[in-house]
Amino acid sequence: MAQHTLSVLVENSPGVLARVAGLFSRRGYNIDSLAVGPTEDPKVSRMTIVLNLEGHALDQVSAQLFKLVNVIGIQEMKDSDTRQRELAFVKIAADRGKLEPLLAGYQTEIVEEKSGTSIVQVVANNKDLVALLKRLESLGIKELVQSGAIAIELGSQTLVEQTARETGLASSDNQSQLEDYQN
């Protein structure tokens, strides 16, 4: 078992999140985190899904996901050539003076400090976030809000371009199959 991150481009249509979530539960795959948001194309949303799977199962998950009519493309985001970040807010019973030494070296911001309680905003990859939260535990975390991971591939190529090439969506020579679909 290992953690994998999938970026999934989906049509921005009603029910698409339920379709994806339903597929995962029905096939018995556990999602570690899921983040959905808009993209540069208003008709397309992008999901970043982190899950724990064996390599063989990952191919099956991808194939099953791609079978969904609303799924446009899928790409595994490998650590080596992607940048991946999560966002967290931590409410903690400590003032700036106690916090700052622990936060050193991480991309954080103290959003609010009031009556001995602070809200810390953290942007980090999963590994760093886990490490930082472990540090902060000693001060007593009162509340934790954490987003799913989002990821982008490094380099000039986009996921849309890549999936278009892989699936033949860019070419128009795939039209012949449409001819006899009527009864």
Binding site: V10, E11, P14, G15, A18, R19, G22, R26, K43, H56, D59, Q60, A63, Q64, F66, K67, L68, V69, N70, V71, I72, G73, T167, G168, L169, N174, Q175, S176, Q177, L178, D180, Y181, Q182, N183
Partner: protein
């Protein structure tokens, strides 16, 4: 702006534009606006007695014609009654479009009368589905639904339309070529995969063509015959593929799987290469997966990429429509065979020995009562391979697969994946509508028949003269068989008493059918011929058969195919076989 019509008119015009000739359904409140233009449409609407009947009828129609079957129901219970046939069609890859009415848009989500979230309910059991609340989107949704249902790996698509969308006005244009960004099934196989497959075939010494229902969906039976004769290897056809390859053909070893022939099951087990065409390594075929065909390399051709490697690793995956795939394999194999003509004579000697030592058969009951296998065998022999046979689920289904000889695709219909009891009568009705000049026999069980027989009323009133053989062993026979084998004969709730109640012949007569009964072997031939001679009404024959007959061979669920039994506590004599 084009002429304005109602959403309901748009729906019916869209169905007409999709080429729909017939649909099965029942009206109700939410779908009612659509039924007004249906009244004037050239589409034949057959008013069924239960929505489940509409769904299975659409499946039967689709299975026989290769066209998209269409059913229509109202919201709430009308729609939820379609769930079983949708799941059935999903498992067996049947092209179907189901139209349901939904409560008006503003009422959605308020627990309104007859509201059910049928899009949510059917998400896991449809290929795709829609909830339409805007009348302008009806024609596009219908066009996409037909395209999705029929193309790629076929499947059911549900279009749920809110009542107010049916009532509001809209322009009409029917997009003949829907644009679906995330849906482009791969039709043409990859050339390199074809070459790799051909090379593997030429190198193998014990190949088997493992044929699934995909060959029938792809209308590739003729191509398969050419490929099979070119390769010269044994052929096995799964439950969904019966008829894809002629039973009379010398290379055909029959059906593999839980109730397959010893030769077919053993061929897969001992093979060194499975040439898998449109099959999916279902647990009923593989038995315990970790012991399945352990020495075999796998060529796996399927139009659905998600089937590749799902249950069994494929050495050579081929994604594409089976028609082009098989037609590409033929020249590729021919070229390989020119370099190296394989010799399968040892393999064939082994298979021929198994085939002749362990043919399908059955023992006549010792008490002189009627044997169910004999009845089914005779129906097939008398009616012939041009007829269509539709089974329910259970023992009679297995016997109908084993003892009727299938020569052509689309002559054998059954619920293979979901195993839906009650499938036979409505599916036979749909099949007869699709093939009105062909005799259609439902081979049903007394348990199955009591789930959906109300559609015989529909058949009687709409001149759909199907024939139904009730293989009446007054029990849930397959469950009883498992109780005999695995539960020490403790027959918990499997005795249906159906030789006493109901009187099937009278029930049939009450529904406008001819009702017949047969209790002795001497009458079987005469009664089948009598039933075959009746073409102006549905016929139901209650065959009172021996209740303790069992389906053999059998690979018990969860065990290895190596442990196939040919009768109770009787394994094949492997020592005498050269394998």
């Amino acid at each position: 702006m084009s002429e304005q019509i109602s959403g309901a008119q748009s729906l019916v015009k869209s169905l007409e534009s999709a080429g729909v000739e017939v649909m099965f359904g029942i009206p109700g409140g939410a779908i009612l606006p659509a039924y007004d233009p249906i009244f004037d449409s050239k589409i034949r609407h057959i008013l069924v007695r239960h929505e489940q009947g509409a769904g299975h009828a659409a499946t039967g129609y689709a299975q026989v014609t290769g066209k998209v079957g269409v059913c229509i129901a109202t919201s709430g219970p009308g729609a939820t009654n379609l769930v079983t046939p949708l799941a059935d069609a999903h498992m067996d890859s049947v092209p179907m479009v189901a139209i349901t009415g939904q409560v008006p848009g503003p009422a959605i989500g308020t627990d309104a009368f007859q509201e059910a979230d049928i899009r949510g309910v059917t998400m896991p059991v449809t290929k795709h589905n829609y909830l339409i609340t805007d009348p302008n989107e009806i024609s596009r949704a219908i066009s996409e639904a037909f395209y999705i249902a029929k193309s790629g790996r076929p499947g059911p698509v549900l279009v749920d339309v809110a009542k107010d969308a049916l009532q509001k006005m809209t322009g009409f244009s029917y997009p003949k070529r829907p644009e679906l960004r995330g849906y482009r099934p791969q039709v043409e196989p990859n050339e390199e995969s074809i070459r790799d497959a051909a090379a593997l075939i030429a190198q193998s010494s014990k190949p088997v063509l493992y044929i699934g229902g995909g060959v029938i969906k792809a209308n590739a039976a003729k191509d398969l015959l050419k490929l099979a004769e070119l390769v010269g290897a044994p052929v096995v056809t799964t439950l969904m593929a019966r008829g894809a390859f002629p039973d009379s053909h010398r290379q055909h070893l029959g059906m593999p799987g839980m109730h397959g022939t010893v030769a077919a099951v053993t061929a897969l087990q001992k093979s060194d290469l499975l040439i898998t065409l449109g099959a999916r390594f279902d647990d009923r075929v593989t038995g315990k997966l970790s012991t399945f065909a352990i020495g075999a390399k796998i060529i796996h051709a399927d139009i659905d990429p998600a089937e590749i490697g799902k249950n069994r690793y494929a050495d050579v995956p081929i994604i594409g429509d089976l028609g082009p795939t098989i037609r590409a394999l033929i020249p590729a194999v021919t070229a390989e065979f020119k370099k190296r003509q394989p010799d399968y004579s040892t393999w064939w000697r082994q298979m021929d020995s198994l085939r002749s030592t362990y043919p399908l058969g059955y023992n006549e009951p010792e008490d002189g009562s009627l044997s169910p296998q004999y009845v089914i065998e005779l129906i097939g022999a008398i009616t012939g391979p041009d007829a269509v046979y539709v089974a329910g689920v259970g023992q009679h289904q297995m016997w109908a697969s084993q003892f009727i000889k299938y020569e052509k695709p689309r002559t054998w219909l059954n619920s293979g994946g979901l195993g839906t009891m009650g499938y036979a009568v409505p599916a036979a009705m749909g099949a007869k509508v699709g093939a009105p000049d062909t005799p259609v026999w439902a081979i049903d069980g007394d348990g199955c028949f009591q789930m959906t027989n109300q559609e015989l009323v529909t058949c009687s009133l709409n001149n759909i003269p199907i024939k139904v053989a009730i293989i009446n062993n007054e029990s849930l026979g397959m469950v009883r068989q498992w109780q005999s084998l695995f539960y020490q004969g403790r027959y918990s709730n499997t005795d249906l008493h159906s030789k006493r109640i109901p009187d099937f012949a009278k029930l049939a007569e009450a529904m406008g059918c001819v009702g017949l009964r047969c209790e002795s072997k001497g009458d079987v031939d005469k009664i089948i011929k009598e039933a075959n001679a009746i073409n102006d009404a549905p016929v139901v024959v209650d065959f009172n058969v021996h209740r303790d007959a069992m389906v053999w061979p059998m690979v018990a669920a969860g065990t290895s195919n190596d442990d196939i039994m040919i009768a109770r506590e009787l394994a094949p004599d492997w020592d005498s076989q050269e394998l």
